[in-house]
Amino acid sequence: MHISDGVLPMSVTVGGYAASAALAAWSARRTRSETLPKVAVVTAAFFVASLIHIPFGPTSVHLLIPGLAGALLGPSAFLAVGLGLLLQSILFQFGGLTALGANALMMGVPALICGVFFQRLKGRTRSRQSIVGGIAGALGTAMAALILALLLAAGGEDFFGVAKIALAAHVPVILIEGAVSAFTIGFLARVKPEMLEPVFASGADGTHDTAPRDPSAHG
């Protein structure tokens, strides 16, 4: 669930923009600059993943995957989240751009925290990785819901009711998200374990870039 335009007070809207611009700049700095196009392509995959609906009783929920994005992308996750939100606006999935900053904070900050959490605690064994991944997935959604509620509550006492309802509506999503994240991380640990290392982070030696490429070697 995203915040739509015109809901938040102006100060929060503008503050959200400033904070997410700073975080995006930090995130871009932490990503090796020549891999930014890769982050863009991977973001597309996360975007598609977030379109998948999972039945929940009579209705269905769709995944938010800030936890998974954080676990797989590390510090680049904030960039990916901002990009994904911009794409949603372009692709008629969502409304306007005035709430973009607040929405990026709401999904991006949990993604960053989950990334650190996952990389610190993932350990070596597969079962541990899936458990930590599951916790990261649930944690990511829970934090996103909490930030959503806090942002809404910033509007004043009139908004408290809406904030509570929004928080409650996320409880099933948190559980589903946790389970799916655990299974997905387990799958990746079996199939392509190198994806669980932070791929794009600057300084980290990604498995795909074993041979240093020289940009001047072209043409």
Partner: protein, 310 residues
């Protein structure tokens, strides 16, 4: 200070006041969804290359407007609208957005899709806020005869209405902003306005590969359906969906490597060729000025001539 005005209603009237708009909204949402679904299913053979965002090189006001001016004007205007507080000016903003849609000859289906995307969130406000807003002095609260824990606060309703109008008005305005020029042109306009070049490039790449990966996901989903997979509310569904996600990530990460290598092989050095250089004319600036003036008028109206209501 005036006290809270309680208007006591019999239960059936209260229920009618609550349920009437809800039923109307639900019906509208269902109708919208039906319309959008029907339109999108009818094309059996879908084009999975990048669907062009821009409509025909239309000759409307918005198509001819210089893209930098268009972005500046419409974004600044959106922020001004987001700052409105009273119902009447937000209704006017909604009317302006509808007018802009008509002027830009935007696709009705896409406008409806956008509307559908924000409906859920805004309906939550319309339902929850009147019931949960605390009663302040001067408020009018409708209460059921004998039930005093549930009150329908009219001030909450006005506030929610204003929020809903703002949300819809801004969401609809994205249609003339984003689809009256090809995406590369719009992004280039952003770059010219000072947004880092890389942002535009990343959006362009993501947008391109989004459709590739969606195609991939559709094929994988079709394969699962053929093998008898049906989504249910159980742990096995979650496991299957998780494996599906994992496979999608593995395939797309691998494809990412190949895409990037191919780009490097074709001489990519952090830049895409720029689309044709836009030329700003006096009438572009004039239109921008007029649009901003409209936004400022709305804000002034909202702040100085709307005391008391809403």
């Amino acid at each position: 200070m005036a006290d809270v005005v309680h208007i006591v209603l019999p239960a059936w009237q209260f229920a009618a006041i609550l349920a009437g708009p809800l039923i109307l909204l639900a019906a509208a949402a269902a109708g919208l969804r039906f319309l959008v679904r029907r339109r999108s299913v009818s094309g059996e053979d879908r084009d999975w290359s990048v669907p062009p965002l821009a409509d025909s090189a239309g000759a409307t006001l918005f198509h001819r407007w210089d893209v930098r001016c268009k972005i500046t004007a419409l974004l600044a205007y959106s922020f001004l609208v987001a700052a409105l507080e009273h119902v009447t000016p937000t209704l006017a903003a909604l009317a302006v957005s509808l007018l802009a849609l008509v002027l830009a000859r935007s696709s009705l289906v896409r406008a409806l899709t956008r509307l559908l995307a924000v409906t859920g969130f805004l309906v939550m406000f319309l339902v929850v806020m009147p019931l949960s807003a605390p009663a302040l002095p001067g408020d009018t609260v409708l209460v059921i005869d004998g039930v005093d824990w549930l009150g329908f606060n009219l001030r909450g309703l006005y506030k929610a209405l204003a929020i809903a109008c703002k949300g819809v008005a801004i969401a609809l305005l994205m249609e003339p902003l984003l689809t009256t020029a090809p995406l590369p042109v719009t992004l280039h306009g952003l770059t010219r306005l000072g947004i880092p070049d890389m942002v535009g490039q990343m959006v362009l790449l993501s947008h391109r590969y989004l459709h590739v990966f969606r195609h991939e996901a559709e094929r994988m989903a079709a394969g699962m359906r053929v093998r008898g997979f049906r989504k249910r509310t159980d742990i096995e569904t979650l496991r299957a969906v998780a494996n599906f996600l994992g496979m999608l990530f593995v395939r797309s990460f691998e494809r990412t490597e190949r895409v990037f290598d191919a780009m490097r092989a074709r001489g990519y050095r952090g830049r895409f060729p720029a689309p044709e250089e836009p030329r700003m004319q006096a009438k572009d600036l004039l239109l921008t000025g007029a649009w901003l003036a409209l936004g400022i008028t709305l804000i002034l109206w909202d702040r100085f001539f709307q005391q008391g209501s809403g």
